[in-house]
Amino acid sequence: MDSNVWLVAAAWMALALAASLISIRVGVSVALIEILIGIVAGNFLGLHSAPWIDFLATFGAGLLTFLAGAEIEPDALKRHLKPALVIGFVSFLAPLLLAFAFAYWVAGWDLRASEIAGIALSTTSVAVVYATMVETGLNRTELGKLILAACFVTDFGTVLALGVLFANFNAWMVLFVGVTAVVLWYLPRLTRYVIARVGHRVSEPEVKFVFLVLFLLGGLARVAQSEAVLPAYLVGLVIAGVFVRDRILMDRMRAIAFSMLTPFYFIKAGLYVSLPAVATGALLIVALGLVKMGAKVAGVLPLTRLFRFDRREGMYATLLMATGLTFGTISALFGLTNHIITQAQYTILVTTVIGSAVVPTLIAQRFFEPGIPGRSDAAPGPHQVTAAVATSAD
């Protein structure tokens, strides 16, 4: 069957469809379900990757990273710049250093594998944080916007570390940095121009334009031994303002990503998780999970006090910032693909990352959910409306 691309594609798409249906039924993220289905398929069905799947998965990871950058609210980041920068940076640095130290000195991983461990566990899942805050209405408050802005800073640190730590600093790097800087400088204006002149046609020139930029900068990043997600995130960040005003473009990019690309990425991310390695590495998985949460608490919680969060809000924000999913798996898969970590180490990191999507969220929701202002009957939220009143009977 391996030589029949159509049947291989059918098998992968069947898994992706199953993940979508399960996700809708149980109300859990399709990304998480795709990873879990990948784990089952890899361990019990003998599913494996192919070069064309690797490309789709890599493109999916790049597009996910781009969308993550583009989903920022630039105005919210500007309003909360100082606390977001400080909290976000510490939220990145503390787990990076502690997880690295733990992997290197306690678990006995080599230097580069420990660096991957540090990077994979430094992340915060903006999506997990956002979903949690939507359920409480906190995403509409200034506190919520500050937490989200800080999460973007944390993820920027992660992406930067991934793009820099393993790169070659030579002429290719200079070329990559130079071209990226010029492209990023002109990109918002250029994107607006493309949309204004030829946007929203059936041939989708604006989507192709964004893909062209992602491929070009991703290619240059590879030449410099850096990682394509770094320019993808930066491209997303600089044109976030364009995307905020053009929901149609955002929706089209998401449709392309979620239907055809990200399923291949997330299923592939699950494929390399070895269940026997989960069993043998269970203690290390728990320990790394505690290290990540401990580092976030030690680093972020005092800062929330400094920026005058109350006790409950501070712990809630800290726990949400201890979550992780997409960038954690991207970092681990980068390590595995580039032979920096073994499959057993990959398994441990991805399982820890999945745990970090679930455990801190549940603790935050169960014990530290702040009271939400503006949800009383007298203060309608955005979805609350008063119906027209008919004063006379029919």
């Binding site: 999506a127 955002m250 997330f266 009957d377 119906a387 008919a390």
Partner: protein, 140 residues
């Protein structure tokens, strides 16, 4: 008697029956009726922000349609109606909203799950009865 009635409306037959009873009660007592729909299945542990936004948009469209029908029905009965859509866990959200809004009656539809489902999972109505701080009417 009752002054403020909160009705849980998710579009199911049971919840529509509950809404009908709420209108009847409101006509008898002059109580204000507030319709609450809970977006219960937003993706937990999301992989992307877009995933959450899309799920929320889909749920909003669905509930807005139901609320328009409810408003039209209320208008035909000459009743005032307020309504809102809130994300969260259904039972917790209904009980909390009733407390926050000083409602004195919650009306819910019976979901009609199997006895086995109710034995192991319980129903939203069971949980609201357990957690509510006011009277609860479950309509079969």
């Amino acid at each position: 008697m009752f002054h403020r009635i909160l009705v849980g409306l998710d579009g199911s037959d049971g919840s529509r029956r509950a809404f009908d009873r709420a209108l009847e009660l409101a006509q008898l007592t002059g109580a204000a009726v507030h319709v609450l729909s809970v977006e219960e299945h937003l993706p937990a542990f999301a992989g992307t922000v877009g995933e959450v936004e899309d799920a929320q948009r889909f749920a909003n469209q669905y509930f807005r349609g139901i609320h328009e029908e409810a408003s039209a029905l209320a208008s035909r009965h000459g009743r005032a109606l307020t309504h809102e859509i809130v994300p969260g866990h259904a039972a917790q959200t209904i009980a909390r909203r009733a407390r926050e809004g000083d409602f004195d009656l919650i009306i819910l539809g019976h979901a009609g799950h199997s006895p086995l489902h109710n034995l192991f999972l319980g129903s939203t109505a069971d949980r609201v009865v357990e957690h509510a701080s006011c009277a609860v009417l479950v309509v079969r």
